[in-house]
């Protein structure tokens, strides 16, 4: 076991795309933690999706062995953190496992919203923050200015911050030296009762859940009986060890100050909640480590198999995904229109997209997803207070005494020339302006309070497009406020398609209803008869379009004996019909549902 004085536990924080994962890879390489032959694009982001999207979705960790300039051997534990607002709680738990954080700032972009947000999280966790200026080889790099920004805006010294290029391996050792020199060694008593913080866990089909943990006090070893303090679950430890890049190295024991993994025949990650404390059953700690909270999904959406017969497959896929993602929730739901499916809860829209993509890719499912919604709070006239997770449950307007929707505090950072655009956007999204702070001569931070519902759809994309990509966003929930809400129903051929209903702010209903009807008209194929598409609130029609009857769908020329190509066309058409849902007499392809989700993109 390494002496405490020779251990450094740190994580890397950054705004998205500032080079966090690339730096992590270079540190691993520098410490020979990586076999060059197996080098994937980015080593710590192991999920295929993560690499594609260029963001870290789950935390991950690696142990590095570094011989420093002072000739001593150090153990450096790098704990990677997720890089998106949806996963802020996970970030905070990863940070709680560290004593320091390397703050990566892009030498040309400078400080951005998540630079700030993540640094504050690090400072809140009492971490030593070590700024590093990355991408100094870019022609647009302005390291001196960026250092000044860090000092002005964040208020931490940055004069000596290493200037590096993670991509080209410039100055990587300087970062390692600073980690050893500036980040405090962990403290802890290896003879005290065990307190180990869970900062991540992963499901492995052979070993069960692999729990990533930071030992705060005491020791843990194979064979020991342990208990999760929040869930109360008890296990016998099978194995403990440390992580390399993509490898696990068993060890005899882990002691205070160390970072490693444990396995204990745990069947689901839901039993190993991030932020929970592991203690020994025999000599338990009097109290858990601070900061645990149960993660609550904020965005809900109905997930249905495009082919109704695949319901069981979807259930099994969700069960498996849930093994590895405790922050997602799912509950059976049935819709008249779509049959059996699930109401799934997600941390945010990105999380939702990731889960959907994983279901479609890894489990080969075709899905129909209904419009995402937040959780509304409704007080009924009989005094009953209910949380509404799905439009299907929204009470009749006559029964509603008070409807409330969740609000969030929103911080936006952007160059000042876009302030007008941003204000217009936020106003359109019912944002309440709080204040605006000049971060430096050219950049401002705006604070708004805004309904969460307005943020989850496409706010971030809209912000990006109105600030030419320079705007950055961070938000957190601040509670419920009364609101004028209505439920909008969509009728096809006179019948309500419940899966297309959703709840929205009353003033937005008319324009949105019109847009939905237009989109559906574009996406529902013409049938043998005319189909009215209507939008209604409480039975009152507020928008209408008509899909004309199909007149022509024919391959006029079937000639020269080339039948194969025509056959493929008809085959495709047949497959398309398989994926259509029939509502009454109207067949709706799953694309139509997608189109409704993407309403605001044009």
């Amino acid at each position: 076991m390494t002496d405490l004085s020779h251990i450094r536990n740190f994580s890397i924080v950054a705004h998205i795309d500032h080079g966090k994962s690339t730096l992590a890879d270079r540190l691993l390489e520098e410490c020979h933690a990586v076999d060059q032959r197996i080098r994937a694009e980015q080593l710590l982001d192991s999920m295929e999706l993560e690499r594609e999207r260029g963001i870290t979705i789950k935390a991950s960790a690696a142990t590095l062995h570094y011989t420093a300039g002072d000739g001593e051997d150090y153990v450096l534990n790098l704990i990677d953190t997720p890089g998106h607002v949806d996963f802020n709680y996970e970030v905070s738990r990863s940070l709680a496992a560290c004593e320091g954080a390397v703050l990566v700032v892009d030498a040309s972009q400078g400080v951005e919203a998540q630079t700030l947000a993540n640094t504050y999280l690090a400072i809140d966790a009492n971490l030593e923050v070590l700024p590093v200026i990355n991408k100094i080889d870019l022609p647009s790099a302005r390291p001196a200015e960026v250092k000044a920004e860090i000092e002005d805006i964040i208020g931490i010294p940055a004069e000596d911050a290493p200037e590096i290029s993670a991509k080209n391996g410039i100055n990587i050792r300087a970062v390692l030296e600073r980690i050893v020199a500036d980040i405090p060694a962990p403290q802890g008593d290896r003879n005290a009762p065990l307190q180990a913080l869970i900062f991540d866990s992963q499901y492995d089909s052979y070993r069960g859940v692999i729990v990533y943990t930071r030992i705060k006090e005491g020791m843990i070893r194979a064979g020991m009986d342990i208990q999760m303090m929040a869930t109360g679950a008890v296990y016998k430890v099978v194995e403990v060890g440390t992580m390399g890049a993509g490898t696990l190295t068993p060890a005899e024991a882990l002691g205070a100050g160390e970072v490693g993994y444990i396995t204990a025949s745990i069947k689901t990650v839901a039993d190993t909640k991030v932020g929970d404390t592991i203690t020994g059953l025999d000599n338990p700690a009097p109290e858990p480590l601070p900061g645990y909270r149960a993660v609550q999904p904020m965005v809900f959406s109905g997930v249905y198999p495009a082919d109704g017969a695949k319901y069981q497959d979807l259930r099994e896929a969700l069960e498996k995904l849930k093994l590895n993602d405790a922050s997602m929730s799912y509950e059976m739901e049935s819709s008249i229109a779509l049959g059996f499916g699930f109401r799934c809860g997600f941390l945010g829209l990105l999380h939702m997209e990731i889960i959907q993509e994983r279901l479609e890719r890894e489990y080969n499912l075709d899905l129909i997803t209904t419009a995402p919604n937040v959780v509304y709070r409704v007080t009924k006239t009989n005094g009953e207070v209910m949380m509404v997770y799905t439009p299907l449950d929204y009470p009749d307007p006559m029964e509603i005494q008070l409807a409330e929707e969740p609000y969030a505090k929103v911080n936006i950072i952007a160059p000042q020339e876009y302030v007008g655009n941003i204000m217009e956007l936020c106003q359109n999204r019912r944002g309440e302006f709080k204040d605006m702070v000049y971060l430096d001569a050219t950049r401002v931070e705006l604070h708004y309070e805004m309904p969460l519902n307005e943020i989850i759809y496409d706010f971030f994309d809209a912000l990006k497009s109105r600030t030419r990509g320079y705007g950055s966003l961070d938000y957190e929930l601040i509670g419920y406020r009364p609101s004028r809400l209505v439920k909008l129903d969509i009728l096809l051929n006179g019948e309500i398609v419940d899966a297309l209903s959703f709840i929205l702010f009353a003033d937005n209903a008319y324009p949105r209803a019109r847009k939905i009807c237009e989109k559906l008209k574009e996406n529902i194929p013409r049938a043998q008869f005319e189909i009215p598409v209507q939008a209604a609130i409480g039975g009152k029609i507020i928008a209408r379009e008509t899909i004309k009857a199909l007149r022509k769908d024919v391959l006029a020329k079937c000639y020269g004996g080339d039948i194969t190509r025509k056959k493929k066309l008809l085959e495709k058409q047949k497959e398309g019909k398989k994926r259509m849902r029939t509502f009454g007499t109207v067949s709706v392809p799953s694309e139509a549902f997608m189109a409704v989700l993407k309403l605001d993109e044009d």
């Binding site: 043998q528 022509k552 769908d553 020329k557 079937c558 004996g561 039948i563 194969t564 066309l569 019909k577």
Partner: protein
């Protein structure tokens, strides 16, 4: 005693010869052809096709060729000499029926009296003339290398040369065309009194010049195209034509026997780059590349693009897809006997379509599409394929 000798029953076979040469490429065309009359290319092509025919002839001893079709490209532009050489080669290597239908596609700009005389002499008995439109401006837009009066002259030459089975090709749904224009085209062309008319809707195919221009072409919308189609059906019916396929109309029973093979599951062999075949249970097409075809035939290389053995259920799907294009339509007993699959789920689809006036049933119980049904035939066929998908094979008939 000759009558006691049992003659082997030979299977009918169609031959298609793809002639990939044109004076110029039309703006909408996606058939494989080259705008060239390069002698060495043409010689190379001719040798390759003839060698190919010799090879194939050896594989088809049990067949009798009853249709031959020269398509393209523009066979008339390629010329009578080459066609004559190919026909001679065919006769030497295949058993060609005396009454075989032999068609040559012609364009108005390459029809001469000499060509026609020679074709007659070689036994060609059916001509197909690509007129497309009676409007010179439109012909120009389409990239056709001829005027309408050239087309009329070509037609009259054909008659004068003694051809009694002439088909004309027309197109509708053309840029800026309205129903009135189309009705006039039909009127004008029908005055020529052809035995056979094909009316094709313009379809903008990917990779053609028109595909790039799609948005500025001012093409009639689907509803207008549907009207145009029904106008053609009505007009032709009024003039004594019988509609025997979605886009094909004939008088005096003069169907295109060759094309009917495509739609009724007959066997055919294709020669020349891009040609398709359905022979001995396999479908395949040849590469759309003249050089590759020539060198492939010469050196024994691979000229086949995509060869598929068609499983039973897929054949059954083809039956539905192709037969419903024709006035023969589909029939329960025939279908079940041929494919050992139940017709009942299909019957249900057809019943529904009957109620929409998309289909009718003849006295003999055959299901055929109405003109209105032809217009949405993809929708109907894909419904049938879907209904067929889940069906269990019949245990017994």
């Amino acid at each position: 005693m000759a009558f006691l000798i049992k003659r082997p029953n030979k299977t009918p076979l169609g031959l298609y010869i793809h002639v990939p040469f044109c004076r110029s490429k039309c703006q909408y065309c996606d058939f494989y052809s080259l705008a060239t009359k390069d002698d060495s290319l043409i010689d190379g092509y001719l040798d390759a096709v003839c060698d190919h025919i010799k090879e194939a002839g050896e594989l088809a001893p049990g067949y009798k060729v009853d249709t031959i079709f020269f398509g393209g490209g523009t066979p008339s532009f390629f010329g009578a000499e080459g066609i004559a050489v190919i026909l001679t080669t065919i006769r030497r290597n295949f058993d060609v029926d005396d009454g075989a239908e032999i068609t040559v596609e012609c364009n108005p700009d390459s029809v001469s009296d000499r060509l026609l005389r020679r074709l007659r002499a070689e036994g060609v008995n059916r001509l197909s003339l690509g007129i497309q439109s009676d409007d010179d401006e439109m012909l120009k837009k389409l990239g056709r290398p001829h005027t309408y009066s050239q087309a009329v002259m070509a037609y009259q030459r054909m008659r004068k040369a003694g051809f009694r089975n002439i088909s004309v090709d027309l197109m509708y749904g053309l840029p800026g065309q309205d129903i009135q224009d189309w009705a006039e085209t039909l009127d004008n062309v029908l005055r020529l009194n052809p035995e056979h008319v094909s009316c094709y809707a313009l379809k903008v195919e990917e990779g053609t010049p028109f595909a790039e221009l799609k948005d500025v072409l001012n093409l009639p919308d689907d509803d207008t195209q549907a009207e145009m189609y029904l106008t053609a059906v009505d007009t032709l019916k009024g003039r004594g034509f019988r509609q025997y396929e979605i886009s094909n109309f004939c008088r005096k029973g003069l169907t295109s026997r060759h094309n009917l093979k495509y739609w009724t599951g007959g066997e055919y062999l294709g020669f020349g780059p891009g040609a398709s075949s359905d022979f001995a249970g396999k479908r395949y097409s040849l590469k759309r590349d003249l050089q590759a075809y020539i060198s492939g035939i010469r050196d024994g290389g691979d000229i086949i693009e995509d060869l598929q053995e068609i499983p039973n259920r897929e054949r059954a799907g083809e039956y539905l897809m192709l037969r419903l294009r024709t006035s023969q339509g589909i029939e329960a007993r025939e279908y079940e006997k041929m494919y050992l699959l139940p017709f009942a789920p299909l019957e249900e689809v057809m019943e529904k379509r009957r109620r929409l006036y998309h289909a009718t049933q003849t006295d003999t119980g055959r299901w055929v599409l109405t003109p209105k049904g032809f217009l949405v035939s993809n929708d109907i066929i894909s419904d049938l394929l879907l209904a067929q998908d889940g069906s269990e094979p019949l245990k017994k008939l």
